[in-house]
């Protein structure tokens, strides 16, 4: 029987943590772009897109991420599309993130007083000009803390990608636990890795929130 040192375990976990980070970045960047497109459509043509938008957001907020991962993995196969776990996990997490970000940002835009729309409309600004110069600069400021906060949810959400065979931090922990017979040690280290990734982001979100409240005063 081979003996594993603590360092062996940690080193392998850290190697796998890279993929947690990469998958989080893909989900966040992809979700951000898709979310922004969704939000723009909704704001641009409120009447036509409101139902579609609400349906999309409701669907992804109302089903477990685990289910979405399964569906994206097995669903694509059902249609004969052979994809890697990277594509499946990236797709599911992107859609999931886009739904949440779009809804968070919609709330931020809705928080801008109606008078800002009316004043900019009266000054003959086009919809694009209103968004670009009046609404978004104000919405962006209030959107930063909740957006950064949601990033933490995305990082933890990537753990679920392990169930479709994506080897990231959690899956690697599982595999290492199976060969070392030291599940408690391994998963304690896995937890620590997540904490080290997430906690600074939480702190940063809190810092931004305080800073923004100070500006508002």
């Amino acid at each position: 029987m081979v003996d594993f040192t603590l360092w062996d375990i940690l080193r392998n976990l850290l190697l796998a943590a890279r993929w947690t980070v990469v998958l989080s970045l893909i989900a966040f960047a992809g979700g951000g772009i898709v979310g922004l497109v969704l939000l723009s459509l909704r704001l641009w043509r409120e009447r036509s897109f409101a139902r579609l938008f609400n349906g999309y957001v409701g669907l992804f907020q109302g089903t477990p991420l685990l289910m979405q991962l399964f569906l994206s993995y097995f669903g694509l196969r059902l249609f004969g599309i052979e994809v890697s776990v990277w594509v499946s996990a990236g797709l599911a997490l992107t859609l999931y993130t886009s739904a949440f970000l779009a809804e968070i940002w919609r709330g931020c835009v809705a928080a801008i007083p109606k008078g800002q729309w009316e004043a900019s409309t009266s000054l003959a600004l086009s919809f694009y000009e209103q968004m670009r110069y009046v609404i978004l600069p104000q919405a962006l400021r209030i959107a930063i803390p909740p957006t950064v906060g949601f990033a933490v949810q995305v990082i933890k959400g990537t753990a679920l990608a392990s169930v479709i065979g994506f080897v990231e931090l959690t899956r690697a922990g599982n595999m290492i636990a199976n060969v070392t017979y030291a599940p408690f040690t391994v998963f304690a280290l896995v937890g620590m890795c997540y904490f080290i990734l997430c906690y600074p982001i939480s702190l940063y979100a809190r810092f931004l929130e305080r800073k923004m409240n100070a500006v508002r005063r």
Binding site: Q116, E118, S120, T121, S122, L123, A124, L125, E129, V134
Partner: protein, 253 residues
């Protein structure tokens, strides 16, 4: 002194048979009103009489269901973005709650629309903004942020911002109602200055003394209709309808 306008002055806002409903509730029940260039028209009436709604129809902030409205001979077409953009350049609006853009400096507030919509060069727009801020008595506030100003100052910036588009008509929607009493005068003086310079003004106001002083005509609205219309002396001095008499006497108590 009330603005006196010659009968031959061109009509700048022409409202005919305007109907507006919110769902089943009809708030404007057929409004006819023609405003000539250089006129100062004050709209008075109880809250809920439709006066603000009428004002907001003139620049398309509210969509109306029936009737016609032209500004400077151009019809208001809600579904035509280019026509609305053109019309809104001719109609300035000042709001009760100022609605300055809080993330921009005072100067940038005034310059934004001219640089975007009229494509003015930045130096020209800046020079114009300085001129307009000087005119409303805020020459030294160009670089200030809106939240550093008092309500009266913010409203004067809003006036400068609207003037920067060189509108043919200015709509004023209860522009002193959100101000502390001691700040009302400074805003009204600026508006009076505009009236004396010949700007066409349509104002919804509760400042009766001011309405009497500067209006060429006063419109009394009641239950979604123009109930009485005439010179300030006619309306304030000899109100004909019982509704107007009651409205005016309720103000004195």
């Amino acid at each position: 002194m009330p603005s006196v306008v010659e009968a031959s002055a061109p009509v700048i806002v022409d409202i005919a048979g305007l109907h507006k409903s919110y769902g089943d509730v009809e708030v404007l029940k057929g409004i006819d009103l023609r405003v000539q260039k250089g006129e100062v028209v004050c709209i008075i009436g109880k809250s809920g009489s439709g006066k603000s709604t009428l004002l907001r129809c003139i620049n398309g902030l509210e969509v109306f269901q029936d009737g016609g409205l032209t500004v400077d001979g151009r019809p208001l077409l809600h579904d035509n973005a280019a026509a609305m953009r053109d019309l809104r350049q001719r109609v300035g609006m000042i709001f009760q709650s100022f609605n300055l853009f809080p993330h921009l400096t005072v100067g940038a507030n005034v310059m934004l629309a001219p640089t975007l919509v009229k494509k003015s060069a930045r130096p020209d727009a800046a020079a114009q903004a300085h001129r307009l801020l000087d005119r409303v008595g805020l020459a030294d506030k160009f670089d200030a942020m809106p939240d550093q100003l008092s309500g009266g100052q913010q409203q004067r910036v809003a006036i400068a911002r609207a003037l920067a588009m060189e509108p043919a008509v200015m709509l004023c929607d209860e522009i002193t109602s959100a101000l502390d009493p001691e700040l009302v005068g400074e805003v009204l003086r600026v508006v009076e200055g505009l009236a004396n310079e010949g700007m066409t003004l349509i104002m919804v106001t509760h400042e009766m003394a001011f309405a009497r002083k500067v209006s060429s005509r006063v419109v009394f609205m009641h239950q979604g209709r123009v109930h009485e219309i005439g010179t300030p002396d006619e309306l304030f001095g000899a109100p004909k309808t019982p509704e107007l008499q009651q409205f005016l006497s309720s103000l004195h108590n």
